[in-house]
């Protein structure tokens, strides 16, 4: 069967099971947009290519399937560079197809030419410049295989216009042997001896902590993580990328560690004698000053990416492998050592001589008691952002998908939401991409139309990508956006208050410029404004009742509220600041 390269490309996406593509056409990708009209694939026309990338990320976050975005050459391609970098940092499977100028024009500074494979070389897991239409089915297969296996990540396929227009003879690779990837071997199961060593460390530990990262979610390992925690009785911290990987309502859940983590999660790690790092990467926002991080802890580090092992913290037992498979192997090893399901120890086995974790748990309970997350919503006082998050949480279904941008609102959302289900939290963790929330929420809603999707956004973030609400209105994607509008680039303001002697430099945004309600309405959304605590619940109820268009609520929140606890950048986690009374210059 003869097809054009463009037809082969769309057919290849169909063969991969792609249901939705986020994109925006242009000159060099024109041939590929024609067969979309005849395809089963739903195309969602974004208003800016960055929106396409983040929407595809949101889709991938909640479905586990690769997100797909398609844009044109030059500026279209460079506009999607930020989502690629974001996806690389957070290991999001993303397949981006870019148009390119014809092969004969490459290198001539042609109109809308940009060497996007070179630009994205360091921020994609791999990328391809297609030079022969005959290669398209194979390269698309390779792209999806690379994006979704091993440590997931973004890939880019750059297709010159003459390649799209050229004829090719259709085929479809049916086995991995037909792919040309001689250097790509994603690892899967762990080394048995190391898994056994890890299990023995677990049974010797007196103060163990499971340090669960985003890899748990990528490996679909939330179920076995719970089994491991319950069988061993080991408490679990869930990093910003792992919120929901272990239920917040579970008695063993300590919540989020790190710079704005809660006191107990941070301090339990500091005092631990064993850290089971599962799909986490010792990010600087988690460790604080590395040399003083968890000084007494032996480390078992499980990651599918061998380059993560020992990158930041030396692991006593490094295990390269898929989190789900390795945890299953650990459970088997624990069986062998006498720790069966339910945590019962077999007589005479190693598990029977296991240290009692009760003193450790008592210490943890004492910390939780003494240092809970706190804020105070005064009656008639300024609206506290934490109050908004808690009100939203209480007024929405438990499996609501929450999407955040980056900054104070993101931290409050992570701290005050109660994540009891995996894949209900979508945010930009590693890259910290402001403007992520609105387009990512759209992608999440497209991926899970059955679930309520709330974006919790900041006013600064919202202004970066709000135009995608036009996309949401036009495509009838009823996302809901809560803007925690404190009229500032709040996180930067917080740092200037605490560390720059309240010298506020270029952080003021104004509460009512733009007018968020009018802006929302102009984009086809319902717009609401909330200025007092009493108005919060009715507004949320109203928003929840709208299901045919997006809703935006402009919550006018207290500009002076800061995110606590806080470990100042570069400081030891031992020096955690619990609240304003301990902060310099705090109010």
């Amino acid at each position: 069967m003869q097809l054009t390269g463009a037809q082969a490309l769309i057919k290849s996406l169909e063969m991969q099971g792609v249901e939705v593509v986020f994109g925006l056409p242009g000159g060099a990708i024109l041939p590929v947009y024609d067969p979309i009209l005849d395809s089963s694939i739903r195309h969602i026309l974004v208003r800016h290519e960055q929106g396409a990338g983040h929407a595809a990320e949101g889709y991938a976050h909640v479905t586990g399937r690769p997100g797909v975005a398609m844009v044109t050459s030059g500026p279209g391609a460079t506009n999607i560079v930020t989502p690629l970098a974001d996806a690389a940092m957070d290991s999001i499977p993303l397949v981006v197809v870019t148009g390119q100028v014809p092969t004969t024009a490459i290198g001539t500074d042609a109109f809308q030419e940009c060497p996007i494979t070179g630009v994205t070389m360091d921020i994609t897991k791999h990328n391809w410049l297609v030079t022969d239409a005959q290669d398209i089915p194979r390269i698309v297969s390779e792209a999806f295989y690379v994006a979704t296996t091993g440590r997931p990540g973004p890939v880019l396929v750059d297709v010159p216009k003459d390649v799209s227009n050229a004829q090719m003879e259709w085929y479809w690779p049916t086995s991995l042997d037909e792919l040309d990837l001689p250097g790509y071997y994603p690892r899967t199961s762990g080394d048995p001896a190391s898994v056994l060593a890890a299990a023995e460390l677990i049974l010797r530990a007196e103060r163990p902590v499971i340090y669960a990262g985003g890899g748990i979610l990528k490996a679909r390992a939330a179920g076995v993580l719970r089994e491991l925690a319950e069988r061993t009785g080991i408490p679990v911290v869930t990093t910003l990328m792992a919120r929901g990987a272990f239920p917040d309502s579970h008695p063993l859940c300590l919540g989020m560690p790190g710079m704005h983590g809660n006191y107990t999660a941070v301090t339990a790690m500091q005092h631990a004698d064993l850290l089971l790092a599962l799909g986490s990467r010792f990010d600087d926002r988690v460790t604080g000053k590395v040399s003083t991080f968890a000084p007494d802890a032996k480390v078992v580090h499980v990651d599918i990416d061998p380059a993560e092992l020992g990158k930041v913290r030396r692991a006593d037992v490094p295990i390269a492998g898929d989190c789900r498979l390795v945890i299953e192997e650990m459970l088997t090893a624990l069986d062998g050592l006498g720790l069966g399901p339910g945590g019962s120890a077999r007589k005479g086995a190693m598990a029977a001589k296991r240290p009692d974790l009760a003193p450790w748990m008592a210490q943890i309970r004492a910390w939780q008691e003494r240092y809970p997350l706190t804020y105070h919503q005064e009656e008639g006082g300024a609206l506290k952002p934490q109050y908004v998050v808690e009100s939203l949480r209480d007024a929405t279904p438990d499996d609501t998908i929450v999407v955040a941008g980056v900054g104070q609102h993101q931290m409050w959302a992570s701290q005050y939401w109660r994540f009891d289900y995996p894949y209900t939290w979508v945010n930009s963790g590693g890259a910290g991409t402001m403007g992520f929330a609105v387009p990512a929420a759209i992608g999440a809603k497209v991926g899970r139309p059955d679930k309520m999707v709330w974006a919790i956004d900041g006013d600064g973030c919202f202004q970066m990508t709000a135009q995608e609400l036009v996309t949401a209105s036009a495509e009838r994607i009823p996302v809901k956006v809560a803007i925690l509008n404190n009229a500032y680039l709040g996180m930067v303001r917080q740092w200037q208050e605490l560390f720059y002697e309240e010298r506020y430099s270029e952080v003021y945004l104004s509460p009512d410029l733009p007018d968020y309600v009018k802006w929302a309405e102009a984009m086809g959304c319902v717009g609401l404004r909330v200025e007092t605590a009493e108005e919060v619940a009715p507004a949320i109820d109203k928003a929840n009742s709208v299901d045919d268009r997006p809703v935006v609520i402009d919550f006018r929140t207290d500009a002076f509220e800061k995110v606590y606890p806080m470990v100042p950048a570069g400081a030891s986690n031992d020096d955690i600041i619990v609240g304003p009374s301990q902060g310099e210059g705090g109010r």
Binding site: H126, L181, P182, R187, D191, A193, D316, I319
Partner: protein, 206 residues
């Protein structure tokens, strides 16, 4: 024949020449990907040689880099992640057979010509071109020998000089025991190649 200039090094900080040989797919853009992992960390590549292997689908890149061991370990693991990279070995200089080629055009009129020919003879090099007032000479050998030779020909007046950068293969008699193979081949189940990890696991596992 020991490559003295490379096997010692700055010493104190652990900085020294490392030879990394990288087996890659012989495709466009692969060299840029490999080089990028060094440049993005601000490490200078001291020398670089690339050519197809006996199987022309693959090339071997020989990189000599001055870097401390710890960051190199990380670079090697990142190299391993490149889809186009098939295998990586780090060769300790004392465990490698290294060769390099030098071409030089010297100022050498009728008077100096004899001295140059003599010197080239001692080093077992070759005269590859002779002009009225200049000669082009070639020498292949261990990098230290090339260094020595370069110093000796300098007084004649170098018009142009080009070295290839070194290529290296592991020494045969120690190959099985000492080659520190970091990657390559089918990375099957449980094949954790972490050097630091393997070393440190043993004291816990016992």
């Amino acid at each position: 024949m020991a490559p003295a200039s490379t096997s010692t090094g700055a010493g104190a900080g652990g900085i020294r020449h490392h030879i990394v040989t990288v087996g890659v797919e012989n495709k466009a853009g692969v060299l840029a990907r490999v080089a990028g992992l060094f440049s993005r960390r601000g490490f200078n590549i001291f020398s670089l040689a690339v050519a197809p292997t006996d199987d022309e689908r693959f090339s071997r890149i020989t990189i000599v880099v001055d870097v401390e061991s710890a960051p190199l370990e990380q670079i090697i693991r990142q190299l391993d992640k490149l889809v186009n990279v098939v295998s990586i070995s780090e060769l300790a200089p004392e465990e490698a057979t290294e060769r390099e080629l030098l071409l030089a055009t010297l100022q050498a009129g009728p008077v100096e010509r004899g001295q140059v020919i003599q010197l080239v003879g001692v080093f077992e090099g070759k005269i590859v071109d002779v002009g009225r007032d200049a000669m082009t000479i070639m020498l292949a050998g261990a990098p230290s020998k090339i260094d020595d030779f370069e110093n000796l020909i300098r007084p004649f007046g170098i018009i142009e000089l080009q070295r290839t950068g070194r290529v290296a293969l592991p020494k045969l008699e120690r190959r099985a025991a000492r080659l520190r193979s970091i990657t390559g081949g089918a990375g099957g189940a449980g094949e954790d190649r972490s050097e630091a990890g393997a070393a440190s696991t043993s004291d816990e596992a016992g």
